[in-house]
């Protein structure tokens, strides 16, 4: 029992202290741009749990979900193709190195030109950024398939889709998951950026509107909400990762149950 208490104690101690410091340091503040934390928290519910939840938070998350999903599928598919074929890899490598180096937000103006200012553009922006970490990690993962396992598959004539799944994808999955985690943090950034350009809905859009409307406490609450969203998504990701890679973490830490 004390183990858990200690762990929770350690986990909560500093955050609680920091929040307290922020609360009291800003308590008396009349500085327009540093409103008291109490005011920000007071404003939080009716700013975000109101109609804005459906008008801004939901569209943002849906676009992130679609963009991230498409990037994941495309990244893995392309990664498998490139990783498993030496010629294709040689042809595409320098091109990928260049496209990967372009800072994703820079593509926003171009995508506005090509895809307009609607949701398609925002989803494309997210895909254009999330694709690379997944693609490149998948390529590394495919190349790291164990030759003995590959021979086993050949001997037992495990071929076609079953081979792709059981040999290639499953053995590359630890690297693919690493790529997926990096892609998630890029995705959130691009979700916000794409809403700062030409938007009529979304979290990034809402925070900018608060800024332009000089409603600073609401703006702060938006920034905090974005932070919480980032944290929540990374926690969710870790949970999914543990389920998907249970075998991997197990094999790395050595046999425990037996």
């Amino acid at each position: 029992m004390s183990g858990i208490l200690a762990r929770v104690g350690y986990a909560l101690a500093l955050p609680v202290v920091l929040v307290a410091v922020w609360w009291f340091a800003s308590a008396g503040s009349t500085d327009f741009y540093f409103p008291p934390l109490s005011r920000i928290v007071a404003v939080f519910p009716d700013t975000w749990l109101s109609s804005r939840l459906a008008d801004d938070v939901l569209p943002s998350l849906t676009r992130l979900g679609i963009g991230y999903g498409v990037a994941l599928l495309a990244g893995v598919a392309l990664g498998l193709a490139i990783g498993s074929n030496r010629v294709v890899a040689a042809v595409t490598e320098p091109l990928l190195e260049f496209l990967r180096a372009i800072p994703p937000p820079v593509l926003v103006p171009i995508l506005i030109l090509v895809a307009g200012i609607g949701d398609t553009m925002k989803v494309l922006v997210i895909v254009s950024g999330c694709l690379w970490p997944v693609l490149l990690n998948t390529v590394d993962g495919v190349r790291a398939v164990d030759p003995v396992l590959a021979d086993t598959c050949r001997t037992y004539r495990v071929r076609g889709g079953r081979r792709w799944w059981h040999l290639v994808i499953r053995s590359a999955s630890p690297r693919i998951v690493t790529g997926a985690r990096q892609a998630l943090s890029v995705g959130i950034i691009l979700m916000v950026i794409s809403e700062m350009f030409a938007a009529s809905s979304g979290l990034g859009y809402a925070v900018i509107q608060f800024k332009d409307g000089f409603r600073i406490p609401q703006m702060w609450s938006g920034v905090i909400l974005l932070g919480l969203l980032g944290v929540l998504l990374s926690v969710l990701f870790r949970i999914v990762e543990h389920r998907v890679l249970g075998w991997y973490h197990g094999s790395r830490d050595g046999p425990r149950e037996r």
Binding site: V148, R154, Y156, Y248, S251
Partner: protein, 259 residues
């Protein structure tokens, strides 16, 4: 059943030509248990990979019941030395054994029966739901053997399968493989560097020279069929045969160094 005729294999690496196999010819009759032994680095694994259709020979042919082997043939299974790396770490034991059957399109009911029987045969009846990394080395190799049994191959090739396990486990696995061989009537080609193991297990022992590899001698083992670690290894005939093979391998090593 499995015939190797004038097998010749050269590795043409960047600027290095390695003649792994010079000229090998031998045959493995159906249902027999043949061991292959030779000095380390004499191309034993290359030979096995050619027989399994995983590696194309530079010249010469391998035929399995008449048909030339160009790729991994049907009805042939292999047990590799690195057992840990030949099992799917993300599949439970039962699924590992079941996968080749699913790939071959065997019906679900038959598959469940085959998997159960194979795991029972190797003494892992209670490990169905475990993951490979949760098992000891010896038990992981048992899973690999169970997978081979369930696949019901006509020929089973083993590439130094017990080299990476401790002595006691090796003895159990040796007895297990003999028992499996007798029970399922398979043809076995067993490659090893352990002379005692070759003589204890095989009906015949083929001794190879160092590279470029040729057959040094093809020695029938006339020990009784019923074998066990104590009596067989104590039998003077066993020591005599073992000495014969040992001398042949020493000779081959000397030749290797001088040529």
């Amino acid at each position: 059943m499995l015939a190797v005729e004038e097998l010749h294999k050269v590795y043409d690496g960047r600027g290095r030509r390695v003649e792994a196999i010079g000229d090998l010819t031998f045959e493995v009759e159906a249902g027999s248990f043949v061991c292959v032994v030779g000095p380390s680095g004499c191309g034993k694994t290359t030979l096995l990979r050619c027989c399994a259709g995983l590696l194309a020979p530079t010249s010469g042919t391998v035929t399995l019941s008449g048909a030339p082997v160009t790729g991994p043939p049907e009805g042939l299974a292999v047990v590799f030395q690195e057992y840990g790396r030949s099992l799917f770490p993300w599949l439970r034991v039962a699924d590992n054994v079941d996968l080749p059957l699913r790939a071959a399109g065997v019906a679900k009911a038959t598959r469940r029966e085959l998997v159960g029987e194979a795991l029972g045969a190797v003494g892992l009846a209670d490990a169905h739901r475990a993951y490979p990394w949760q098992l000891s080395g010896g038990m992981q190799q048992r899973v690999a053997i169970a997978r081979a049994i369930a696949y019901q191959p006509r020929v089973l090739l083993l590439d130094e399968p017990f080299a990476a396990v401790d002595a006691q486990t090796r003895a159990d696995l040796e007895d297990l493989i003999r028992d499996v061989w007798r029970r399922f009537g398979m043809t076995l080609l067993f490659v090893t560097h352990d002379i005692d193991e070759a003589v204890y297990l095989g009906q015949r022992v083929i001794m190879l020279t160092s590279s470029p590899t040729r057959v040094a001698e093809d020695l029938p083992i006339d020990l009784p069929d019923e074998r066990d670690q104590l009596t067989t290894r104590g039998d003077p005939r066993f020591a005599e045969l073992r000495g014969r093979v040992y001398a042949q391998i020493q000779k081959a090593k000397l030749e290797g160094r001088t040529t």
